[in-house]
């Protein structure tokens, strides 16, 4: 359990680095570290299906970003304006809210039942009847493609829409000469 929390701290630190660092290549690598942390966490929580998808998609995402950065620029070109005196009140207010949220979140998490025990009503139905009704050895496949087919259809639609979006933004006709 300690390794789990150390991993969480590492991921938060890597996320902060990814946001704050000036070199975009380093930011992408930090983002990849966060993603692989999520993958290790899925393995710890005994979800190999999700860990699989997370590892492959994270590799792909890092390759995408690196390919784009090699084509364009390493430098973060957004104009920062620095902090002034007027920013103190918003920063303090936000910090207060974040601390309060953290405190309440920890209290809520402690009062939850332990992980995977007891089984929820729907999950126990799937575990008892999944193999008999669907005939799939992998219960996750039985849930996402049989019991919850509509969700997978929605997921496929989201991917399709994202491809259309990328190709529509980058297409030749819409660009200024």
């Amino acid at each position: 359990m300690q390794a789990f929390y150390m991993l969480l701290v590492f991921m938060v630190a890597a996320g902060i680095v990814a946001v704050e660092i000036k070199d975009l290549l380093a930011a992408v690598i930090s983002l990849g570290a966060v993603g692989f942390g999520v993958a290790i966490m899925f393995i710890m929580l005994q979800a190999p299906d999700l860990a699989f998808v997370q590892i492959v998609i994270e590799i792909l995402a890092v390759v995408f970003f690196v390919a784009v950065i090699l084509k364009t620029t390493h430098e973060d070109e957004t104009l920062g304006r620095g902090y002034t005196k007027d920013d103190i009140i918003p920063i303090l207010g936000f910090s207060l809210f974040a601390l309060m949220f953290l405190y309440l979140g920890i209290k809520a998490m402690i009062s939850l039942p332990s992980f995977g025990n007891p089984l929820m009503k729907v999950a126990s139905y799937y575990i008892e009847n999944g193999l008999k009704e669907v005939g799939a050895g992998n219960l996750v496949a039985a849930v996402i493609l049989d019991y919850r087919g509509y969700d997978t259809l929605g997921e496929a639609t989201v991917l399709f829409t994202s491809v259309i979006g990328v190709l529509a933004i980058l297409r030749k006709e819409g660009r200024k000469k």
Binding site: A67, V134, G135, A141, A142, D146, G149, L153, L170, K172
Partner: protein, 144 residues
């Protein structure tokens, strides 16, 4: 897109077939072991992207690949929808699993999960390849 050094090309030549076959395995055994259409399709797309990065391509190849991967993505989407429509064709509701269940833990089991996994695998692989080509080779595809 320029190719990479001889070291990268040699290693790519050795591993790329294994990556592709492993992706197909993940898709086909999605109903028996961890994985499934999404993970397997992503692995297949990775093998194509690896060859693209290592060996480099010409302008004409980029255009052709973009067209072909768009067609494959549509084929995958239509395949998944027709698997879902099979249920309605035989008088049940949408996404009804009407193909025979078979013996559990065999390759040919679990009704429509195997064809649906294959369709999703094709769709996801082609979609990720299309996004990669759109982002990384804009210069080739979009130049007048």
């Amino acid at each position: 897109m320029r190719g990479m050094t001889t070291i990268v090309k040699t290693i790519t030549r050795i591993v790329i077939g294994f990556i592709f076959v492993y992706g197909c395995y993940i898709v086909l055994f999605g109903h028996l072991s961890p994985g499934g259409g999404f993970a397997g399709g992503a692995i297949i797309a990775t093998s194509f992207i690896l060859s693209r990065l290592a060996f480099g391509t010409t302008e004409k190849q980029e255009k052709n690949t973009t067209v072909v991967s768009s067609i494959f993505e549509s084929i995958g989407g239509i395949g998944f929808l027709s698997v879902a429509l099979l249920g309605m064709l035989f008088g049940f509701y949408y996404f009804q699993n009407i193909i025979s269940k078979g013996i559990p833990l065999r390759l040919a089991s679990a009704g429509h999960i195997l064809p649906a996994n294959i369709a999703i695998g094709i769709k996801v692989g082609a979609a990720l390849l299309s996004i990669f080509l759109g982002l990384a080779s804009t210069k080739y595809i979009m130049r007048d």
